[in-house]
Amino acid sequence: MFYKWHVGSIAWILHRLSGVLIAFYLVLHIWVMSFLQKGPESFERVMHLLEHPLFKLLEIGLLGVVVYHSLNGIRLMVLDLGYGMAHQKKMFLAVVAVGIVLFVLGAIPLYPF
């Protein structure tokens, strides 16, 4: 039988997953940027490709991932400083609530359709 998921372990696994995704994005990002070396034309071409709606949607996803990782990162730092220990669950709810607001605000201008 699986061990029961609690708020803390859910926050942790999401933090891990988002961390891995961000690391993956970073590699992609550096790779895209490396086209700069190959001159303005090839960089323009890649940038043009990234105008595709699919990449816009992926960017919206990236926004969600980064927002969660940053906000929960703040939660973890506060907790590791010994503050709000008794309220870690409420802090997670706050992360989710503030995260949704930031995500929606940021996603609207990115939305391609």
């Binding site: 039988m1 699986f2 061990y3 029961k4 609690h6 708020v7 803390g8 372990s9 926050a11 942790w12 973890l76 907790l79 590791d80 400083l81 010994g82 220990m85 008794a86 870690q88």
Partner: protein, 233 residues
């Protein structure tokens, strides 16, 4: 009311792999999971093995995984679990000796590593070493720990790395490091900031959820992290 106990069983003499076995027990209000296990052992199947001693949540012998959470069997009311089936498993990531009995040696070795005794180089004289009520208060939670192992066995960092000291051991380290009479702080901070030490704690809080004494090992670990950072600075 009839409740099914689904118990993860393993006999090293007979079984290659552990397996679940079901028992139906008539439970009454007030019956704990330990009472249920006794009922099974005494009336249905004498081969079932589990540890218990005090049956009052003080000896720490009966920690096990009940419906996917670590708890004390003697401290868990069957009816309060609100399930028709109660799944009982040995503490995970501890080596199983038989059925619900796990080998606690690795657990206690990790307690021993942090030197769980007062270290005092200065001579105390013939009187006891006094402590102010405020200083004693810092230790209230840490001295309440009954070393049941529920926390360490619930910790994902420990599942991943069995060498990790784990919440119980770090909690014990806290108990002495924050003891105003103790002089072993430097030594212990060195031990717990080792690569298998407290930096493996990612504040997941599974230990807090599991602790049958409602203690907060994560808080103690955070205080220790702060102490290490501030002493190193």
């Amino acid at each position: 009311m009839e409740i099914t106990f689904k118990i993860l069983r393993f006999d090293p003499d007979k079984d290659k792999k552990s397996y679940y076995r079901k028992y139906t027990v008539k439970v009454e209000p007030g019956m704990t999971v330990l009472d249920g296990l006794n009922e099974i052992k005494w009336r249905l199947d004498g081969t079932l093995a589990f540890r218990r001693s005090c049956r009052s949540a003080i000896c720490g012998s009966c920690a096990m995984t009940i419906n996917g959470v670590n708890r004390l069997a003697c401290n868990s009311q069957t009816l309060a679990l609100k399930r028709k089936t109660i799944v009982v498993e040995p503490l995970r990531r501890f080596p199983v000796i038989k059925d619900l009995i796990v080998d606690m040696d690795p657990f206690f070795e990790k307690i021993a590593i942090i030197k769980p005794y007062l270290i005092a180089h200065s001579r105390g004289g013939s009187r006891e070493r006094l402590q102010s009520p405020e200083d004693r208060k810092l230790l209230d939670e840490a001295v309440t720990c009954i070393l049941c192992g529920a926390c360490t066995s619930s910790c994902p960092s420990y599942w991943y790395n069995k060498n990790y000291l784990g919440p119980a051991s770090l909690f014990k380290a806290y108990r002495f490091i924050f003891d105003s009479r103790d002089e072993g702080t430097e030594e212990r901070l060195g031990i717990i900031s080792d690569r298998d030490g407290l930096w493996r704690c990612h504040s997941i809080f599974n230990c807090v959820e599991a602790c049958p004494k409602s203690l907060n090992p994560t808080y103690a670990i955070a205080e220790l992290k702060k102490k290490i950072v501030t002493t190193k600075l």
